[in-house]
């Protein structure tokens, strides 16, 4: 025992050296991205924290001017992108394109049971309650309330939302609803019995209510089940719109004639 202690005492500097080097190398292999690709594991949280701390400290000295330049450039590119995407979309629009208003999403949520989206256009731009809102990838929702410059949109991800849809292959109709939970999936209900929906079928808008133009994409069938009675089919739909990343949307201001709206109201 005594000899062991003597030996340990004698090589204590070597041990310390090895310990420090071991710590360094653990840090090296754990945190660094380049070395991570050579080794295996990742510690993204820590390296992210380190980078944030670093940019927080050094940014104080360096990045003020760069940030401003980047923000300016970003705004310039963004407006250009909007303009280009807009013209691209207008060109591909199935109907006459004049009755679409482009709006930017300024607030959005997907985590509640009743989510809402706020867009930066309102009644001054011709937006009114009940108008359809969609993005290039598909249906987003329906305008719920609008002030002069802003509108509140009831997205598909709201338990009050109900949109008339059609299974394109079969021409059978139903209502798309959402019961909370995963923001990527909704349910198509009130389908005719024996509708024969299959996985992969495309769901599009029906065009009945004239809220949306006909054949705007909504989603793809990802599961077919039956409701509580065990007879009526209920279809799970994977939505085409990624509500997480809504940048800008189109509002369909080409609504039904007042006469039809009046008639529809009488139904309720």
């Amino acid at each position: 025992m005594q000899t062991l202690l003597d030996i340990l005492l004698k090589i204590r500097f070597v041990l310390l050296f090895l310990l420090l080097e071991a710590i360094s190398l653990v840090l090296l292999f754990k945190f660094n991205t380049m070395q991570n690709s050579v080794m295996t594991t990742a510690a993204n949280g820590v390296s992210g924290w380190m980078l944030k701390t670093e940019s927080g400290v050094t940014g104080f000295f360096y990045q003020g001017r760069e940030n401003r330049l980047l923000a300016e450039e970003n705004a310039r590119l963004q407006s250009e992108l909007f303009r280009l995407k807009d013209s691209l979309y207008m060109a591909s629009l199935p109907q006459s394109g004049g009755d679409v208003v482009v709006a930017r999403v300024i607030d959005n949520s997907i985590s509640h049971d009743n989510n809402f989206i706020t867009i930066d256009r309102g009644s001054d731009a011709g937006i009114d309650e009940g108008m359809g809102v969609y993005s290039p990838s598909g249906v987003v929702g329906v305008v719920y309330k609008s002030s002069r410059h802003y509108s509140l949109v009831l997205p598909l991800l709201n338990s009050k939302s109900s949109v008339s849809c059609r299974i394109r292959r079969l021409d059978s109709f139903g209502f798309l609803e959402w019961d909370g939970g995963d923001p990527a999936y909704a349910w198509l209900k009130d389908l005719p019995y024996h509708s024969g929906a299959q996985l992969g079928d495309t769901i599009v808008t029906s065009g009945f209510s004239q809220i949306f133009p006909k054949d705007i994409p909504v989603g793809v069938v990802s599961d077919v089940q039956t409701d509580a009675t065990g007879v009526a089919p209920v279809v799970q739909v994977r939505l085409t719109v990624n509500f997480n990343r809504l940048g800008f949307v189109y509002v369909n201001t080409d609504t039904a004639p007042d006469e039809l709206i009046q008639l529809n109201r009488m139904k309720k």
Partner: protein, 172 residues
């Protein structure tokens, strides 16, 4: 002891600030980046407890790592340099490790001294750049980097030597 620690801290902090805020961002000709903070390791007193020297080097390396997002690389190479510093110095000058001996122009002749600085820097830079690149595929670039950076570091060390250490001595 505490006073001594604080006095060292008073030198270490400005040097580290200079390193992480200015020198780390220099990429002269795309290859040369000076790592001046190892100067403090190289000119440490030989009599210093090896554990103390290694811990200082490790801490300085770690701080530099933290700011240049190169975790562990500086810490590893600086600790290694601290561990071999007395032995390395023994190659160039005969001295007794139990007695105080601070490497510098005062205690050594300039040829010995700068050769010592160059070899020490070279060793550190070789280890550091190998850890940083972590491959020998681009070995010509690696060698160029090590050579250019060593040159720049040693030049900066010489500047520091004449500006801070020689002047101080004359004032005395």
């Amino acid at each position: 002891m505490v006073i001594d620690f604080l006095r060292k801290l008073l030198i270490v902090i400005p040097v580290l600030l200079l390193q992480v805020l200015v020198l780390d961002r220099i990429h002269l000709f795309g290859y040369a980046t000076p790592y001046l903070f190892i100067f403090l390791i190289l000119i440490s007193d030989v009599k210093t407890n090896p554990a103390e020297r290694m811990l200082w080097a490790f801490a300085m390396g770690l701080v530099t790592d933290l700011f240049s997002s190169t975790p562990g690389m500086h810490a590893a190479s600086a600790t290694l340099l601290a561990a071999i510093q007395p032995w390395l110095l023994g190659l160039f000058v005969s001295m007794d490790r139990r007695e105080q001996f601070v490497p510098g122009l005062e205690s050594m002749n300039s040829r010995q001294y700068f050769l010592f600085l160059t070899v020490g820097t070279l060793v550190h830079h070789i280890v550091y750049f190998i850890l940083k690149t972590f491959s020998f595929q681009d070995w010509s670039v690696l060698i160029l980097r090590i050579g250019a950076s060593t040159l720049l570091t040693v030049v900066l060390m010489a500047v520091c030597e004449y500006v801070f250490r020689v002047k101080k001595r004359r004032r005395r």
